[in-house]
Symmetry: C2
Subunit: 473 residues, 2 copies
Amino acid sequence: MSGEERKKVSSIFLEYAQKAELFDYGPFKGSIVIRPYAYSMWEKFQAYLDAEIKRMDCDNLYFPCLIPERLLSMEKEHVEGFSPELAMVTHGGGEELVEKLAVRPTSETLMYYYFSKWISSWRDLPLKVNQWSNVVRWELRPFPFLRTSEFLWQEGHTVHATYEEGVEQAFDALKAYERFFREVLAIPVFIGKKSEKEKFAGSLYSMSCEALLLDGNALQIATSHNLGQNFSQVFKVDFQDKHGEKDYAWQTSWGLSTRALGGMFLTHMDEKGLVIPPKVAPIQAIIVPIGSHKNEEVLKTAERIKKDLNNADIRTRIDNREQSPGWKFNDSELKGIPIRLEVGPRDVETGTTKLVRRDTGDKSCVPIEQLVINIQNLLEDIQSNLYKKAQIFTENNSHKVEDYEEFKKIIKEKRGFIWADWCGSQKCEETIKTETKATTRCIPFEDKSSFNTGKCIRCGHKAHYRPIWARSY
Amino acid sequence: MSGEERKKVSSIFLEYAQKAELFDYGPFKGSIVIRPYAYSMWEKFQAYLDAEIKRMDCDNLYFPCLIPERLLSMEKEHVEGFSPELAMVTHGGGEELVEKLAVRPTSETLMYYYFSKWISSWRDLPLKVNQWSNVVRWELRPFPFLRTSEFLWQEGHTVHATYEEGVEQAFDALKAYERFFREVLAIPVFIGKKSEKEKFAGSLYSMSCEALLLDGNALQIATSHNLGQNFSQVFKVDFQDKHGEKDYAWQTSWGLSTRALGGMFLTHMDEKGLVIPPKVAPIQAIIVPIGSHKNEEVLKTAERIKKDLNNADIRTRIDNREQSPGWKFNDSELKGIPIRLEVGPRDVETGTTKLVRRDTGDKSCVPIEQLVINIQNLLEDIQSNLYKKAQIFTENNSHKVEDYEEFKKIIKEKRGFIWADWCGSQKCEETIKTETKATTRCIPFEDKSSFNTGKCIRCGHKAHYRPIWARSY
């Protein structure tokens, strides 16, 4: 993909996103308004993820949105990582505050101050909580949904008595995210470990789900961190074990945000507009009555179909706005509604309706009596087709590279994922970043051959890892 | 109720609330952490209200949490009402901001700036949206749940083509809140119009649900505002009507917050602890195994009962912590769990279990086979009993007063709701507030005799209204 084509992908997305009323630019740099069409998809994300989170025995709760500077500064790496992005409250209730407060960029420091108070014995463990909220991170290169100065997310935080439990919990959360992306959003993701340089500020190690977007850039679309005892030692989150010994607790944190909406849009869109996976589509089937203002029978039939489909839990609407059928067809394609039904006077006579699927454009005539079962099957088919299509795109844009000149050329000309061996030194990682702007996205778990298979792409010394490299959002 | 007794109610509530792990004091003045037990009740509030809001054809969306000063200042009354309570962000991303941003205290000004962009024709109306979010209002006299510097809420905002539609929408929202309080939280509320002095800053008129808490103070527990064209004129929310004429739109806004949690706690608690209405109780039935560590049959029976009840959608848990049964009984009473089941070795033999209801303390022996139907009926009975009890309390603490000296005496010694005639002048209202600290809570809709029935309690002139007066949170 050329630079020209990549830029075109971004600008086309922005055009679609505004026309389809997904967002509007917000009142401060990098902020956006999430409009109802996009927000209703986020509600579907929430419903699915909240059930997964509760299944992991996490309880939801809510911590304040403002964090005293003193708490934020307690973990050194953490504050260094976040301080350039903070929004600071300096005045409250008409007076200058004695201590400045940051609008939360994430809640580790605040929560762990309290965990320290709440936990004293092994009986209090594990403590597993989750928060749905907004966070603010000042964004210098904003892009709607993908990089915004405020976003919505869930942040899970758990505290355990052993290292092993922490390892398991962090991995469980990551796997839950992976399932969500693959099965619900139809996004093929790679899961793996972040490098030291790319990990979360303050974690022992971080893991992520990485997706490849249509413009050839990578997106870190969810993360899960094993915090080890890094925070528990600083915040004194300790407990008395069964033998009466004191120990610091083991912690994890993991999050998924409205960035995932952007990831989904930029995985499935095509030349006609957005393409929304059926499982999260607010409208799964739209009925367009043809010549309806002249024909009462058409409207009656449309209403009957809508009722039948809604009763079968297919999210259906009738588009009875004033515009022409052609305008409505384009609009439903722009919005990425999975299935369109066209009902005209002739259809009423023959008892059939024309069915158009958004992903392939295929058209068919279906007897109205068989619509429910047809559409149920079709929605499943569209869902899996979108996944396959995205998987082929990812494969076609993944490159196994053994030569650094080739690496540079691909990053410059095509982008995509590059699998290339690495010695593991931060020096090589930094040099590559400086020279190509590519970073290690993650060291994938799935590739068994990722250790000791060759030479570092940069220095030629023995390689210890095979990460995915890419330019990223 | 004496001053002594009233203070006791507050301090007992704070004791219960901390012991039952409803909250912890937050990191800045007036903030609280909403802990899982309270938050899970809020989730039930949300589920119920969100369905009501969607039933009113409102779409959820999300606006940024920071509002530029310029927008906040556009409606004069509005900014005067809120400016003393603002938290101001002055720095972002390490730099001083050119324009200060307020953490949203409410979102009218921000939303309506956008509504103006989104609306141009009658075809765009009605626009009906809702936002679930946090808001910050610096609180000088904080009290957990009832008056907090940050709280969670929903804010509904609608835009209409006619005055009448606005009137209807504002009233529909108010009635939805009233149903919620009466039917779900078992709180008897009065609904009515706020006085000019007490209305929302910038509204045409405001309406509220008012509850009487156990300490004799009133609580404005939800509000609905008809904004008329006040904001639409300032923010240029105008539209072209069907005849091509331009007109300003008619708007409403309405909100309900985590304050309602506090209202619920302080309506139903008793001398043993919290009392949670069954419809929102996170745990509806708790099983306490007696001598369980000695008897495997007891644990098996408890598990079987739990499974049966959960299958019948009764939210059930087994308390198998290490503590003694007596400790667990107290704990379940403190937490206000509607039903407690005690299962011991003898119960296993006889196939029965001891059932204790939290509201009355009544105990009964119930055959295990009949538990489901028994508990289903009991939960309904507890729900309606709590409502009746609260209604009797409200009646017993409502006073029809015709003499100002009596008014002052009741406010000072007993508090409660006072129904007293009023001429309608702000002067009398303010004098009464200065002299007694009582304010008009609302002018109830239900009392048909509220107009022209007598003389103003303060000045003796002809009365035009019969408001409820009270000391309030």
